[in-house]
């Protein structure tokens, strides 16, 4: 099971729409969850709407929280999304077998068997979570809490029976052609998640959409660089990745 968890504090302002990018992600079987982090003030109406829209398009959940609640929120969202994804798959099977009935339609005694299966799968399904961190200037004071929350999430994932791993990215890149930078490749090792954001050069722009597109590529090819070569291949590239520039 694949998930993207986007952590941001405002509106995107560059490149392809993040809502479109999230739609692409869902198409690829990647659920997109979004956390808006605010400590002082609010995230703004436009920002809040965008956050909710990205999650809706990506089949996931969105939340707006303060840094104090960040760790537990990320943990809860990840778990909840795993359950939902499995429940959807199981409901689909149920409909297939029983013709139109869902979990809620079954009598409680039969429901219990289905839930047992869902619980089992929730715990054992392999899981990959790619974290995309908005590292625009306003996020700087929150990065410490973000790093802590990532470690906390790893701790929860490590306790699962199924194989689980995390990868961490941030954006914007160092120059205009770089949509996202990888901080940590797939790992299950808590030790690798130390001082993630020490050397980040904070910038003002927030190209959320391009960063999501980049990470979708990473899910496909296991590297951020593959994309350049792939884009050269015109008959495949054009349809899937439009270079919308605002």
């Amino acid at each position: 099971m694949k998930q993207i968890l986007l952590i941001t504090d405002g509106c995107s302002n560059m490149g392809v729409s993040p809502v479109l990018a999230a739609t692409h992600a869902l198409e690829d079987g990647i659920t997109v969850n979004v956390v808006g982090v605010v400590d002082y003030g609010t995230i703004g109406e436009i920002g809040s709407i965008e956050i909710a829209d990205i999650a809706k398009a990506g089949g996931g959940i969105s939340r707006i929280v303060g840094t104090q609640k960040l760790a537990q929120t990320m943990q809860m969202m990840t778990r909840k999304t795993v359950v939902q994804t499995i429940q959807q798959a199981v409901n689909k099977e149920l409909k297939h077998i029983l013709g139109g009935s869902t979990l809620e339609d079954l009598p409680p005694n039969r429901r219990s068997q289905v839930v047992e299966v869902v619980d089992e799968l929730t715990e054992t399904t392999p899981l990959q979570v790619a974290l995309i961190i908005d590292a625009s200037a306003s996020m700087k004071p929150k990065l410490f809490a973000v790093e802590e929350a990532i470690r906390d999430l790893m701790l929860s994932l490590q306790a699962r029976e199924g194989f689980s791993e995390l990868a961490v990215f941030h954006y914007p890149g160092r120059h205009s052609g770089e949509d996202a930078i990888m901080n940590v490749n797939w790992t299950s090792d808590l030790g690798k998640l130390k001082s993630l954001f020490n050397r980040i050069n904070m910038k003002g722009a927030t190209p959320t959409g391009p960063a999501i597109m980049k990470v979708i590529d990473f899910f496909r090819y296991g590297t951020l660089d593959e994309h350049q070569a792939w884009r050269g291949n015109s008959d495949e590239g054009e349809g899937k990745r439009g270079d919308y520039v605002v």
């Binding site: 929120t73 219990s112 929860s156 699962r160």
Partner: protein, 323 residues
Amino acid sequence: MREKENAVITSSNPNYPTGTVITGKWRNSRFVIQGVLGSGANGTVYLVQKAGYRERYALKMGNDTLELQSEINVLTSLQIQQKQKDKQEGIAHRPYLLEVDDYSERQREIPFYVMRYVEGSPLHWFIRKRGQEWIGIVGLRLLEKLRDLHQLGFVFGDLKPENVMVSEYGEVELIDYGGVSSIGRSVKQFTEWYDRGYWNAGSRGSDEGYDLFAFAVLCIHLLHGEALRSAAAHHLPQTRSVADLLTLVQRSHKLKPYAGWLTKAIRGEFEGSDQAWNLWKQQINKPVFSKSKPSDKTPRWLRYAFTFSFLLLCVVVCLAVWL
């Protein structure tokens, strides 16, 4: 901690007023709501009376069918095993889970289950009201409950004072089984303070030690709450550690009688909850505990009174001799 947020995803149910009749869709039993007992991790618990009967029960309505059913599965499995155990031991079985059904209201189906009603107050209220010296015996009974659960292959997970009910006479019941998971799986639901992971003291996997750790933090919370609060707040997350908790345990005179036990639980040194139960029992039966504190000094006024009456006696005797 995570609980209230769930309500946002799955629309939470309204609170039904007293007098509302809840009719089960599948079994047609009717329950009359008498009040709200509390809102928990994934639903609301009502005090109800089965229509036509005097007995009162607790009825839990879930916000999410899957989550509630998962909890019901745990309760059912506990009940089956408990029944067998009671049969072997020749004890009359008192079922905990009574009925599982759905309530149809305005084209919505709300899942619910009915359980035994545990009359009492949450652990922290009880201790505040009755005194900290109750921790010994109440703690022992709580450990007994945890041990039973562990023996059946489950870990409670979200152990906190709100989830422990204590009756007027110190009987203990665990409530809210929403965080219960099978040993070996990941902990389903937890609260930061009591979580082993939060204190960088170990994994978030379900083992007996996880509940024992939470029990230890719970004791610190009940006996020395302010210190725990500042320890949790003042440390940076990555430096928060077992050592902070151990320092608290060593420094507090209130925690001193339990220090040996707490240290072992925090360090994860117990082999299991059976051993932990035994040590707790030994500990609370030590003379330190049974020694009530009679004032060993004679009150000052009594001494003055004595001196005065002695002098008076002398004077009287002298007078008598002289006369």
